[in-house]
C-alpha cells in the first residue's frame, strides 16, 4: 500500500485537516436544522417541548460518515493510492544497448539486417513491456558508456533514441557499462528497477581477464544471436627498413573470428598500385601475420584488403598514410670540407653541400655550418659556428686556451645526449663570455666553450681537428646538432593501423616522460597514461593519433573497428528475454479513477439524502384540467 503523489504524513495531515473542518462545519450547521414554519404557537402553547439553547450533538451521523468517507476516497484518488507496495512503485530501469563495432555485422541469413537491428527490436519489445509509469534511461554501450536519454517516463523518447542508435568503432566494455548503469540507478532516488543488457556480449580478452561484474539485484539480458563467420584485419604496422631508408616494412595481422577455417587473401596497395597479395589459411580463432615491403620516398595512402568479403565488412579494409622521406639541407662553408664530409654523409637524411667561404651567401635553407669563418652577414636560419676567429666571433671570446682541462658537458640537454667528458680531448679551445640568455653546452675550467644562442650554435673548438676526430664523441655531437637543427627530420617514424578504443603504444628503453605527447589530427593533446613502459590512450572513433616520445614518433591510423576476443556468459541469476505482458498490465493497474468516482458518488448521495436537495423542488405543477376548462 502506497501513495504516489503524497507521503503518508502529508496524506494524514491533509485528511485530518479536512475532517476537522468538516466536523466543525457539521456541528455548526447540521446539528440544528433551520426551518421556516407557519406559526410557533403550537410549540409555545404546549410548553412541553423544552427549548434547547445549545447542544453539540451529531444528529445525522450517517451524513457525516458519508462526507468523511467521500473526502477520504477523493483524497486517496489525488494521492494515487495503490495496493501492492513496492511491486506497484514507479521504478527506474536502465537499458544498456550494445553499440559496439561488432553490432554492425550482417546477419548470416539476412545480409540487409545487422545485429544492431536485432538489438533494437529486442529493446523496443522490452520497452513495450515496461509499465508506463516506470522511467527508463538508455545507455549506449561500447568502449565507453554514453547515456542517450535522461530518466524518461515518456517511453516514446526512449524508443526514438533506441532507433537512432548506431554501431560505434570500439569493443564492448561491459563491466564498465554495467557499473555506470548501476551508479545512475542508485542516484535516481526512485525504486530500483531492472538493468537490462541488450546485445551479444562480445568482449575483449583484456576485459575478460580483469572483469569485475557489479552486484546487480535485478539484471536482465536480452540476448542477440551472433553466429556470424568473420575474418578480419587486426592491425597493419609499417616501419622504415633498418637497412634502406627508402623502404617500408609492412606487417599485416589477420584473425579468424568464426568457428570454421577460412582461406583469405591479403592484398596491399600503395597509391592504388598493387604491392603484393598473400594467401593465408586461418583456423578457427587463429591469428596470423604476413609482411610486405614497399619501396618509396613519397607520401601516399597504403591500403590493406582482405578477400573474400564476409558478414562484417568493417575489418576487411585498413588504410594508413605513409609520410614522405624528409631530409635536411646542410650548407658547409669550409676550406677543409674533407674533415666534415664523412660525418654528414653517414646519414641519408642529410643533404650536404660544401662551399668555399668565398661563395658565401646569407640566403640558405636548412643548417649552415661556418667552419672557422665569419661572414660579413650572418645566415638567416640555423647556423653552426665552428671555432670562429677570435677577432670576429659572434660570441665574445675571453681567452684562447691550449689543451684545456676539465671539459664537461652540461647534462640533460638534447645537444649533450650520449656525450661523456672522458671521451673528449681538445687540442685548443676559445673560452666565451656568454650573455645571460645564452645556454652553455660545454665548458672547461676556464669557462664555457660551447654556447647556444637562439638558432645559433657556437663551438670554441674544432671537433674534427686533432685526436678528437677519431673519438666517438665527434659523430655523436654532429648527430645531436643535426637533430637540434631539424628534430622532425631525424625522428624515427612508425606508422600503424589498428582499431579504435584503448590503444597501448610501447616506448623505447630509457624514454623521457617529459617528452611524451599524444596528439590528434588537429594537433590537440589527448589524455594518456604511461604504464608498464607504454603509452595508453583512448580513441572513441576512427582518427589518426601521433605519439611523440623523444626522437621517435608513432602514427596510429585508427581506422579498424575494435573487435572482441571472447564471448561473455551472463550470470545464472540474470533474467533472460522480454518480460511477460501480463506482468506489465498487472503493475500498471491504477486505482485512482475508481476511487474518484466512488468518492464523488458518496458525496452526491449524501447531498441528495441530507443536503438541501429535495425532490419537490423539481416537481412540475400542473393546473387542474377539470377547472381550467
Amino acid at each position: 500500500m502506497e501513495f504516489l503523489n503524497l507521503t503518508l504524513g502529508q496524506f494524514l495531515f491533509v485528511f485530518g485537516s479536512l475532517s476537522a473542518l468538516s466536523v466543525a462545519l457539521y456541528l455548526l450547521d447540521r446539528t440544528r436544522r433551520r426551518r421556516v414554519v407557519s406559526t410557533l404557537r403550537f410549540w409555545v402553547r404546549q410548553g412541553q417541548p423544552a427549548a434547547v439553547s445549545r447542544r453539540r450533538r451529531i444528529q445525522q451521523p450517517l451524513s457525516l460518515f458519508l462526507q468523511l468517507l467521500g473526502m477520504l476516497l477523493l483524497l486517496l484518488a489525488i494521492a494515487e493510492f495503490q495496493f501492492g507496495g513496492a511491486l506497484n512503485k514507479r521504478r527506474d530501469h536502465v537499458l544498456v544497448l550494445d553499440t559496439s563495432a561488432w553490432m554492425g555485422a550482417s546477419l548470416p541469413n539476412n545480409s540487409r539486417n545487422t545485429l544492431m537491428d536485432l538489438a533494437r527490436a529486442n529493446a523496443i519489445g522490452w520497452l513495450r513491456a515496461v509499465p508506463s509509469s516506470d522511467r527508463v534511461l538508455l545507455v549506449r554501450a561500447d568502449g565507453l558508456a554514453t547515456p542517450a536519454t535522461a530518466w524518461e517516463s515518456d517511453h516514446r523518447k526512449v524508443a526514438r533514441a533506441i532507433l537512432e542508435s548506431q554501431p560505434g568503432a570500439t569493443a564492448l566494455n561491459l563491466s564498465q557499462n554495467l557499473e555506470f548503469a548501476r551508479g545512475l540507478q542508485s542516484q535516481s532516488g526512485a525504486t530500483l528497477g531492472e538493468i537490462v543488457y541488450d546485445g551479444p556480449g562480445r568482449i575483449s580478452a583484456r576485459e575478460a581477464n580483469n572483469m569485475q561484474m557489479p552486484a546487480l539485484p535485478a539484471f536482465r539480458v536480452l540476448p542477440v544471436d551472433d553466429a556470424v563467420e568473420n575474418s578480419g584485419i587486426r592491425s597493419v604496422g609499417t616501419r622504415r627498413s633498418q637497412t634502406d631508408a627508402n623502404t617500408w616494412d609492412v606487417l599485416v595481422r589477420v584473425r579468424n573470428y568464426g568457428v570454421r577455417s577460412h582461406v583469405v587473401n591479403v592484398t596491399l596497395n600503395f597509391g592504388n598500385a598493387p604491392q603484393g597479395n598473400h594467401q593465408l589459411e586461418l583456423a578457427p580463432g587463429a591469428e596470423k601475420e604476413t609482411s610486405f615491403t614497399v619501396r618509396t620516398q613519397a607520401a601516399g595512402l597504403l591500403e590493406a584488403r582482405l578477400y573474400p568479403k564476409d558478414a562484417f565488412a568493417a575489418d576487411n579494409h585498413a588504410a594508413l598514410e605513409l609520410p614522405s622521406q624528409r631530409s635536411l639541407h646542410v650548407t658547409v662553408y669550409s676550406n677543409q670540407p674533407e674533415a666534415l664530409r664523412p660525418a654528414l654523409a653517414s646519414d641519408p637524411r642529410v643533404n650536404a653541400e660544401f662551399k668555399s667561404p668565398q661563395a658565401y651567401s646569407p640566403d640558405n635553407d636548412g643548417l649552415v655550418i661556418l667552419d672557422r669563418f665569419r661572414p660579413e652577414t650572418r645566415p638567416q636560419g640555423a647556423s653552426l659556428w665552428i671555432d670562429p676567429p677570435s677577432d670576429s666571433s659572434p660570441v665574445p671570446i675571453k681567452q684562447r686556451v691550449d689543451k684545456p682541462e676539465g671539459l664537461q658537458w652540461v647534462p640533460d640537454l638534447p645537444l649533450t645526449q650520449g656525450l661523456r667528458a672522458r671521451n673528449m680531448q681538445l687540442e685548443a679551445a676559445s673560452v666565451f663570455e656568454p650573455a645571460t640568455t645564452d645556454t652553455q653546452i660545454a665548458e672547461v675550467a676556464k669557462g664555457p666553450v660551447m654556447i647556444a644562442r637562439g638558432n645559433m650554435l657556437v663551438l670554441g673548438f674544432n671537433p674534427f681537428a686533432g685526436a678528437m676526430r677519431y673519438e666517438l664523441a665527434a659523430p655523436l655531437l654532429v648527430g645531436n646538432i643535426l637533430r637540434w637543427a631539424a628534430p622532425d627530420v631525424f625522428r624515427d617514424v612508425d606508422v600503424s593501423t589498428q582499431s579504435a578504443g584503448a590503444v597501448s603504444s610501447p616506448l623505447a628503453v630509457g624514454f623521457d616522460r617529459k617528452t611524451v605527447q599524444v596528439l590528434n589530427d588537429a594537433g590537440q593533446v589527448l589524455p594518456f597514461n604511461i604504464r608498464d613502459r607504454a603509452v595508453q590512450f583512448f580513441a572513441g572513433d576512427s582518427s589518426r593519433v601521433r605519439v611523440l616520445a623523444g626522437n621517435s614518433e608513432r602514427v596510429y591510423s585508427l581506422t579498424l573497428p575494435e573487435m572482441w576476443d571472447v564471448k561473455w556468459n551472463p550470470p545464472a541469476s540474470a533474467r533472460h528475454g522480454i518480460p511477460a505482458w501480463n506482468d506489465s498490465i498487472r503493475r500498471s493497474r491504477s486505482l485512482w479513477p475508481w476511487l474518484a468516482v466512488l468518492g464523488a458518488a458518496l458525496l452526491l448521495a449524501e447531498w441528495i439524502l441530507y443536503g438541501s436537495y429535495t425532490t419537490s423542488r423539481i416537481h412540475i405543477v400542473k393546473a387542474p384540467e377539470r377547472f381550467a376548462a
Binding site: 440544528r32 414554519v37 407557519s38 404557537r41 412541553q48 417541548p49 434547547v52 387542474p624 377547472f627
Partner: protein, 268 residues
C-alpha cells in the same frame, strides 16, 4: 347578487322558510291564523328573503400561507386554486362572487359574475395575488364590515393562524348577520411534523425564532394543540349556523371539492 345560492336568512320573501312563536311587535300579517284557531297559539310564518345573497370570498394571502411545503401542497397555491374552483362553480350557478384577498388588511378585490365565460378575468386576478404581510383578522373584520354592510355569505379560505387569535373576528363578522363558511387549510407538516432533532424554527410572519429539541412526544402534543385549534375554528362556525371544512393540502383540490366539501355540505 343572485344565482342559486339559497339564503338561510328569514325575511320578506315569497318562499316559506319556517315558523316561530309570535313576539310583540311582529307583523300581524305574518301570523298563521289557521294554526292559532286550531292550537290557540300565535305562530309567525317566516319567509325566505331574497334567495340570491352576496357571496364574498376572503382569501388569506399572509406569509404563513406560503410557509412549509412547496409545490401543490403549498397552502397559498392550494387556496388560490380552491378559490378559483369556488368561483368557477359559482359562475356556473350564475352567482356573483367577490374575491377579497387579505392579510394585515383587506386588499382590493375582484367581483365576478355572469356565467362561466367570465372566469378568465378572475383567473388572471388570482394569478396576480402574491403572499405577503402578517395576518390581522380583527382589523380585516372591521374593515370588511365597514365596506360591506350588507349581510351575505362569507367564505374564508385561510389557515387562521393569527397571533392575536381569529375567533373574535369571525364572531364579529357572524354577529353582523353574515353566514360563515370557514375553510381551514393546513399542510401535512403544519399538523404532523415528521422530523425529530434539534430545530431552529422561524415564524414565517413574525420572524420569531424558537430553538427546540423535537421528539415523538413533542410532535404528538403539537398535533393535539393543532387539532384543538381547528376545533375552536369549527366551533365558531357551527355556533353561528355556519359551515366549516378542514382541508390538508395533500388532498387534491378536485377530490376535496367533490369529496370533503360536498359531504360536509359546505357546497351543495
Amino acid at each position: 347578487m343572485g344565482g342559486h345560492n339559497r339564503s338561510h336568512f328569514a325575511g320578506g320573501g315569497q318562499e316559506f322558510l319556517d315558523h316561530r312563536q309570535f313576539h310583540q311587535g311582529d307583523d300581524l300579517r305574518a301570523v298563521n291564523w289557521r294554526a292559532y284557531m286550531r292550537l290557540d297559539k300565535m305562530f309567525l310564518k317566516m319567509f325566505q328573503i331574497e334567495p340570491r345573497v352576496p357571496v364574498r370570498l376572503l382569501l388569506d394571502t399572509s406569509v404563513s400561507m406560503s410557509a412549509g411545503a412547496s409545490g401543490p401542497e403549498n397552502k397559498f397555491e392550494y387556496a388560490v386554486r380552491l378559490a378559483a374552483s369556488f368561483c368557477y362553480v359559482g359562475l356556473v350557478h350564475l352567482d356573483t362572487f367577490e374575491v377579497l384577498p387579505f392579510a394585515g388588511e383587506l386588499h382590493e378585490g375582484k367581483t365576478c359574475g355572469g356565467g362561466r365565460q367570465r372566469f378568465s378575468p378572475l383567473s388572471k386576478f388570482l394569478e396576480t395575488v402574491k403572499p405577503a404581510g402578517t395576518t390581522n383578522f380583527l382589523k380585516v373584520a372591521r374593515q370588511f364590515l365597514n365596506e360591506y354592510p350588507q349581510r351575505g355569505l362569507v367564505i374564508v379560505i385561510s389557515d387562521f393562524l393569527d397571533e392575536s387569535g381569529c375567533e373574535k373576528a369571525l364572531q364579529y363578522i357572524a354577529d353582523y348577520g353574515n353566514e360563515l363558511m370557514l375553510i381551514q387549510l393546513w399542510s401535512p407538516e403544519d399538523r404532523e411534523p415528521q422530523d425529530s432533532g434539534e430545530f431552529d424554527f422561524i415564524d414565517a410572519e413574525t420572524a420569531a425564532r424558537l430553538r427546540i429539541h423535537v421528539d415523538s412526544d413533542a410532535r404528538r402534543k403539537y398535533t393535539e394543540a393543532f387539532d384543538n385549534f381547528s376545533a375552536s375554528i369549527k366551533t365558531v362556525a357551527f355556533r353561528n349556523n355556519g359551515r366549516y371544512a378542514g382541508l390538508p393540502t395533500n388532498v387534491p383540490v378536485d377530490e376535496a371539492i367533490f369529496g370533503t366539501l360536498m359531504k360536509s355540505q359546505v357546497i351543495a
